[in-house]
C-alpha cells in the first residue's frame, strides 16, 4: 500500500502520520505538497493534524482551496479512501467531503488529554478490526473540536450508522462529562455516505506504541491495510 500524507505549511502531525505508515505499518508513505497537483498514485490520502494555514479565520477554511485539495476531493469522489485526523477532519468538513462543522470547544480552551472512545461502527474500511461497542483510549489535542450539524444531518448520520467514534465515560456511556469539547451527540468521528472518508478529532497515530501509552490506534491502521489487500485480491 502507498499512502500520501498531505503537507500543508502549518501541518504538524504530518511526520507522525508518515511514521505510522512507514514504521508501524511497514508500508510506503510519501508527502503530498499543498502546492502540487500530483497525488503520486497513492492508495490512501491522510489529511494530518496541525494548523494548515494558521487557521486564524476558521480551521481548514483556507486549506480546502489549496491545489492538492482539488485532487484529494476528486480522489475521494472516485471512492479513494481519505483519513482526516484533527485538522484533517476540519478540512474535510470545510471541503464538503464530510457534513457538519467543527467549532471552538465549548470550554473555549484547547484540550489535550487521552480520550475514551466507543467504536459505534465497524462497517467501515477504517474500523473493521475493532469490535462494535469496543471502548478505546486515543489522545485528543485540539481547540476546535465541537462537532456541529443541523438536525436532519445528525439524523442521517445516526440512521446510516455513520457515527464511527463517540466520546464515552468509563462505563462506555456517552455522558456530558465524557465530552471534551461539547460535540453534539458526543461525536468524535464520522464517515461520509460512501464510507470512504473518515474524519476524527482524536489522533490514532499517537496511539501505536506501548512506550507512549496506548496502542488502541493499531487496529485502525490494520483495518485500512486489510481493506487494501482485499481490494487487490478482488
Amino acid at each position: 500500500m502507498k499512502a500520501g500524507i498531505v503537507r500543508f505549511p502549518g501541518s504538524n502531525c504530518d511526520e507522525d502520520a508518515f511514521h505510522a505508515i512507514a514504521d508501524h505499518l511497514g508500508q510506503d508513505a510519501v508527502y503530498l505538497w499543498h502546492k502540487d497537483h500530483d497525488l503520486q498514485n497513492v492508495d490512501l490520502v491522510i489529511l494530518p493534524g496541525g494548523f494548515s494555514y494558521g487557521d486564524y479565520l476558521r480551521a481548514g477554511a483556507i486549506a480546502r482551496f489549496s491545489p492538492i485539495m482539488q485532487e484529494v476531493i476528486a480522489f475521494a469522489k472516485r471512492g479513494g479512501p481519505v483519513l482526516g485526523i484533527c485538522n484533517g477532519f476540519q478540512i474535510a468538513c470545510e471541503a464538503g467531503l464530510l457534513p457538519g462543522a467543527l467549532l471552538r470547544n465549548a470550554s473555549l480552551r484547547f484540550v489535550s488529554a487521552p480520550a475514551r472512545l466507543r467504536v459505534d461502527s465497524i462497517a467501515t474500511r477504517f474500523t473493521s478490526q475493532y469490535h462494535i461497542g469496543q471502548v478505546i483510549s486515543i489522545p485528543v489535542a485540539h481547540g476546535d473540536g465541537r462537532f456541529t450539524a443541523d438536525a436532519d444531518t445528525l439524523a442521517r448520520l445516526e440512521g446510516d450508522g455513520r457515527v464511527v467514534f463517540r466520546y464515552v465515560d468509563t462505563d462506555g456511556e456517552s455522558s456530558a462529562s465524557a465530552n471534551p469539547n461539547g460535540s453534539l451527540r458526543n461525536i468524535a468521528g464520522i464517515v461520509n455516505a460512501a464510507r470512504n472518508v473518515l474524519g476524527m478529532m482524536p489522533h490514532p497515530e499517537r496511539a501505536l506504541d506501548t512506550t507512549l501509552g496506548s496502542t488502541d490506534g493499531v487496529p485502525l491502521f490494520a483495518s485500512i491495510l486489510e481493506s487494501m489487500l482485499a481490494e487487490v485480491k478482488a
Partner: protein, 775 residues
C-alpha cells in the same frame, strides 16, 4: 553603496529631535554611560545612535550587572559542544546526535499583556534553538504568580497559560513540562520563563558569527512594524506607571509564520547557502546585527530603506529598534542570494538583502546614501560598562531567617496531621497542574514517553534506544532566605528530578529572575545565587551552557523572591531505564533514600498553613546529592526500581501522597512507619523539605539498600504500597494517623480547577477589567 557611504560623515536626519539630557535619561542611559558614548564617538550621537545604544546597553542585552559574575560559572565538559555566548547551548548525546537548549524570560511583557507576552516568549525561545540548526522537539515553562485569590492574578494566570499553549500547539512542538508557583512575592511581577529543547546531528551545528567580507546580510521572515519598540529597555526597568504608558508597544505573535520560519530556517541551514543566522529578538535588528558582527570581529553596513516594512514612514530609529516577531537575520554567501530567496519563497516568506559584511571595523547604518549611525566596530558592544557593586544582605531577610520555625505555634486543627496534609495537597503550589497542561499539546511528535506530571519529562530520540529527561526547577522562597544554599538547591533539585526518571544529569540552562541589581541587597542575592549554582554544577558535573537574566522584577510594593530557574537536560542510556514517579504495584516495598531532618524552615507548610516565609532553609550539600543520584541510577539500571519520586515542596508526607494518587485513574494506598525518626519534631518529619531524599518503590528492597550503602547513602524501608481503599496510613511510634485516598486526591486534583472555575477563559478580549491601573 558601501564605497559611497564611506567618506560621508554621520548626519542627523531632518526632523530628528535634538539630544537633551532629559532624552538621554529617558533612554535609560546614565550620565556616566553617556560620557563613555561621547568618548567612543568623539561627537554627539544622532537620535538614531542614541536609540541603538539605549538598546544595546540595556541590562537585557548587555548583562552589565551580571556578566562578571556569570563568567565564574563552570561551562565545560567533554559533551558540551556549545557553551554560553550563542543563541542556545548544545551538548552531544552520542551516536552523532546533539541537543540544543535554552531558557528565556518574558516577565515584563507578560505582566502587561499576559496572552501575547507569554506567546511571544515561546516564539523567541523556539527561534533561539532552531537558529542553531536544531529542530525543536520539546518546550517547558516555569511560571510564578501571586495568590489565586486575586482576580488580576487569575486573569494573568489564565492568559499566560493560554498564550503559551496556543503558540506551541500551533507550531507543533509538545509542551512536556514545567512548574507553577503561587506566592505573594510575585503578585505585582509574574514570572514567565520558557525553555526550548531541539535535536540535531552534530554536523548540523551552526553559529551566529558574521564572516566573509562582501557577504550579503539578509532580513528574513515577517515584515518589520512598529511593535515593541524599546521592548529591551522596557524589560530592564521596574514595572511602573512608566511602563504602563508603553503598553501600545506590545508585540503580537504569529505562530503560523513562526512555523514557516522554522521550516525555512532549517532548510536554509542545511542548504549551505548561508554562513550565519540569528533571530531578531530583543532590540531586534540592532542587537542581532551588532552581536553577529562582534562575534565575527568584522564590520557591517545596513541600509534601513531595504528592510521590508509593514507600515509606511518608519524612521531608521523605529526600524532598528522594532521588535516585530518571527524575523531572522541571515548572512548569506555572496552570489547565493537567489537560492536563499527561493527557499523562503517555498515557505511563502520574504528575504531581502539589507546590507553586507565589510572589512573596516565599523557598525554603520544608512538610509539610502545618508549615514544615520556609525560606531567604531565591536566597541559598540564591548564598551558597555560592566558594573561590580558592593553586595549587602537584607537585614529584613536575615531577621526572617533567624526566626525559629519550631517556635511557630501549631493550629488546633494540626493535632490531626491528616488535616494539615489535606491543606497542603490543596495548596495551589503543590496541587496538580493538570488544569494548566491540559491546554498544552504534550503528545505531538509522538515521542513523549513521560509528559507533564512526571518529575521530569522524558522524550525519546527516535531511531535510537535513548531518551532525554527534561525539567525546570527553582524555589524562590528557599533562595530568599539563604541565597547561596538556594542556588545549590535549585540545581540539585533539577538533577534529582531527571535522575528519578532514570537519566544522568548532563547540563543546565538557567534563568535568573531578580529585582533591581543597583540595590545592594539584590546584588547580594544575585552574586550568592550564581556562586551557589556554580558550586552545585561543578560537583554534579552539569555545566552551564547558557541562560538568561531578568532583572528589575519589582514594583513599588517591593521585589520578587530572587528566583533562579534551572533547566536541566539528562540522558537516558536505554529506554528500559525509564522510570515512573508513581507507585506501580500493591505489595511493593517503599524505601526512602536519604535522611530525614528537623529542618522545617522556608517550607511550603509554613507559608500555606501559617502564612510565613521564615527560618533557616534545609541545607543542600551537592556531594550528598551526587551520591544519592549515583545510587539511584545504579539501582534503576539494575532493574530493581519500580518508581522514584523526589521530596520537595511539602516534604515526605506530600511526596508519598503524590506517589499514590498523582494519576487519578490509578490510585494506590500506602502504609508507612516513620518511627525511626520519632525523636524529630513530627511537623518537620512529615512536612519539612530536607534535600537529598527520594521515595522509591521496589520489589527488591535488599538490592536497593545494598546499592545505596555502597554509595554511602542512607536507605530505609519505611512501608509498603497498598490498595487505594486502605488509604494513606502513617505511624510515628505512638502517633498514628490515616486518610482516605479519595479525600486526598480530591484536594490535590480539584484545588486549581475550583480556584479558576468561572474565570472567563482568557480571550485577549477579556483583559482590561483586571489591568493594574484598575486594581
Amino acid at each position: 553603496m558601501t564605497a559611497a557611504s564611506y567618506a560621508r560623515p554621520v548626519e542627523s536626519r531632518p526632523g530628528d529631535p535634538v539630544i537633551t539630557p532629559a532624552m538621554v535619561a529617558e533612554h535609560g542611559i546614565t550620565e556616566f554611560e553617556y560620557e563613555r558614548l561621547l568618548a567612543m564617538l568623539g561627537r554627539t550621537p544622532t537620535f538614531t545612535e542614541l536609540g541603538v545604544v539605549s538598546a544595546l546597553w540595556s541590562e537585557h542585552c548587555s548583562y552589565k550587572h551580571s556578566r562578571p559574575m556569570l563568567k565564574t560559572l563552570p561551562t565545560k565538559a567533554p559533551w558540551v559542544l556549545q557553551g554560553p555566548g550563542e543563541n542556545a547551548g548544545v551538548i552531544s548525546v552520542g551516536d552523532g546526535w546533539a541537543v540544543a537548549f535554552k531558557i528565556e524570560s518574558h516577565n515584563h511583557p507578560s505582566a502587561v499583556e499576559p496572552y501575547q507576552g507569554a506567546a511571544t516568549g515561546v516564539g523567541g525561545i523556539l527561534r533561539d534553538v532552531f537558529t542553531m540548526g536544531a529542530r525543536p522537539i520539546a518546550l517547558l515553562n516555569s511560571l510564578r504568580f501571586g495568590p489565586l485569590t486575586s482576580s488580576r492574578v487569575r486573569w494573568l494566570f489564565a492568559g499566560v497559560v493560554k498564550g503559551i499553549g496556543d503558540y506551541g500547539n500551533c507550531v507543533g512542538v509538545p509542551t512536556v513540562g514545567g512548574e507553577v508557583v503561587f506566592d505573594p512575592s510575585y503578585e505585582g511581577n509574574p514570572l514567565v520563563n520558557a525553555m526550548c529543547v531541539g535535536l540535531m546531528r552534530e554536523s548540523e551545528l551552526i553559529t551566529a558569527v558574521a564572516s566573509g567580507v562582501g557577504n550579503p546580510i539578509m532580513a528574513v521572515g515577517a515584515r518589520t512594524g512598529r511593535d515593541g519598540i524599546h521592548g529591551a529597555s522596557f524589560a530592564s526597568e521596574d514595572l511602573s506607571a512608566a511602563s504602563e504608558a508603553k503598553r501600545p508597544m506590545v508585540q503580537v505573535g504569529d505562530p503560523f509564520t513562526e512555523k514557516l520560519l522554522l521550516e525555512a530556517s532549517l532548510e536554509l541551514i542545511r542548504s549551505g547557502h548561508i554562513v550565519a543566522i540569528q533571530d531578531m529578538g530583543a532590540a531586534g535588528l540592532t542587537s542581532s546585527s551588532a552581536e553577529m558582527a562582534e562575534r565575527g570581529d568584522v564590520g557591517v553596513t545596513i541600509d534601513v530603506t531595504k528592510v521590508p516594512v509593514r507600515e509606511q514612514g518608519m524612521t531608521p530609529y523605529e526600524i532598528l529598534l522594532s521588535e516585530s516577531q518571527e524575523r531572522m537575520l541571515v548572512v548569506a554567501k555572496l552570489g547565493h542570494e537567489d537560492d536563499v530567496r527561493a527557499i523562503l519563497a517555498k515557505w511563502d516568506l520574504e528575504a531581502a538583502v539589507i546590507g553586507e559584511v565589510i572589512a573596516d571595523p565599523v557598525y554603520r547604518v544608512t538610509e539610502g546614501d545618508r549615514v544615520v549611525a556609525e560606531f567604531p566596530g565591536s566597541r559598540l558592544v564591548t564598551e558597555c560598562p560592566q558594573y561590580v557593586l558592593e553586595p549587602k544582605e537584607s537585614e529584613a531577610l536575615k531577621a526572617a531567617r533567624a526566626r525559629s520555625a519550631h517556635a511557630v505555634v501549631a493550629l488546633a486543627e494540626e493535632r490531626d496531621h491528616a488535616w494539615t496534609l489535606e491543606r497542603l495537597l490543596s495548596s495551589p503550589t503543590i496541587a496538580s497542574k493538570k488544569w494548566v497542561w491540559q491546554q498544552y499539546d504534550s503528545t505531538v511528535r509522538t515521542s513523549t514517553m513521560r509528559g507533564p506530571g512526571s518529575d521530569a519529562a522524558v522524550v525519546k530520540l527516535r531511531g535510537t534506544d535513548k531518551a532525554i529527561a527534561l525539567c525546570i526547577d527553582g524555589n524562590g522562597r528557599h533562595v530568599a532566605l539563604s541565597p547561596r544554599n538556594g542556588g545549590r538547591a535549585a540545581v540539585s533539585e533539577a538533577a534529582r528530578n531527571v535522575a528519578c526518571t532514570g537519566a544522568r544529569p548532563m547540563a543546565i540552562t538557567n534563568n535568573l529572575n531578580f529585582g533591581n541589581p543597583k540595590k545592594p541587597e539584590v546584588y547580594f542575592q544575585l552574586s550568592e545565587v550564581i556562586a551557589g549554582i556554580g558550586e552545585a554544577c561543578t560537583v554534579l558535573e552539569t555545566p552551564v551552557t547558557g541562560g538568561n537574566v531578568s532583572l528589575y522584577n519589582e514594583n513599588p510594593q517591593g521585589a520578587i523572591h530572587p528566583t533562579p530557574t534551572i533547566g536541566m537536560v539528562g540522558l537516558i542510556e536505554s529506554l528500559s531505564h525509564v522510570t515512573p514517579s508513581g507507585f506501580q504495584t500493591a505489595g511493593d516495598d517503599i524505601v526512602l533514600l536519604g535522611d530525614c531532618t528537623d529542618e522545617l524552615g522556608a517550607s511550603e507548610y509554613l507559608l500555606a498553613i501559617h502564612g510565613l516565609t521564615i527560618g533557616e532553609p534545609p541545607v543542600c550539600d551537592p556531594k550528598r546529592e551526587r551520591a544519592l543520584i549515583d545510587a539511584l541510577l545504579e539501582s534503576i539500571r539494575g532493574g530493581v526500581v519500580c518508581s522514584a519520586h523526589d521530596c520537595s515542596d511539602g516534604g515526605l508526607a506530600v511526596a508519598l501522597s503524590e506517589c499514590a494518587m498523582a494519576d487519578r485513574d490509578r490510585v494506590f494506598g500506602f502504609r508507612v512507619d516513620l518511627s525511626a525518626w520519632a525523636t524529630l519534631p513530627h511537623r518537620a518529619l512529615l512536612f519539612g523539605e530536607a534535600h537529598g531524599r527520594v521515595v522509591v518503590s521496589t520489589a527488591d528492597s535488599a538490592a536497593v539498600r545494598q546499592t545505596a550503602q555502597r554509595h554511602g547513602v542512607p536507605a530505609r524501608i519505611i512501608g509498603t504500597v497498598t490498595a487505594a481503599d486502605s488509604g494513606a496510613h502513617f505511624t510515628i511510634s505512638d502517633d498514628t494517623f490515616s486518610a482516605p485516598m479519595d479525600w486526598l486526591a480530591k484536594a490535590f486534583h480539584e484545588a486549581i480547577p475550583l480556584a479558576m472555575d468561572g474565570e472567563t477563559p482568557a480571550e485577549h478580549a477579556v483583559a482590561s477589567s483586571h489591568a493594574p491601573t484598575n486594581d
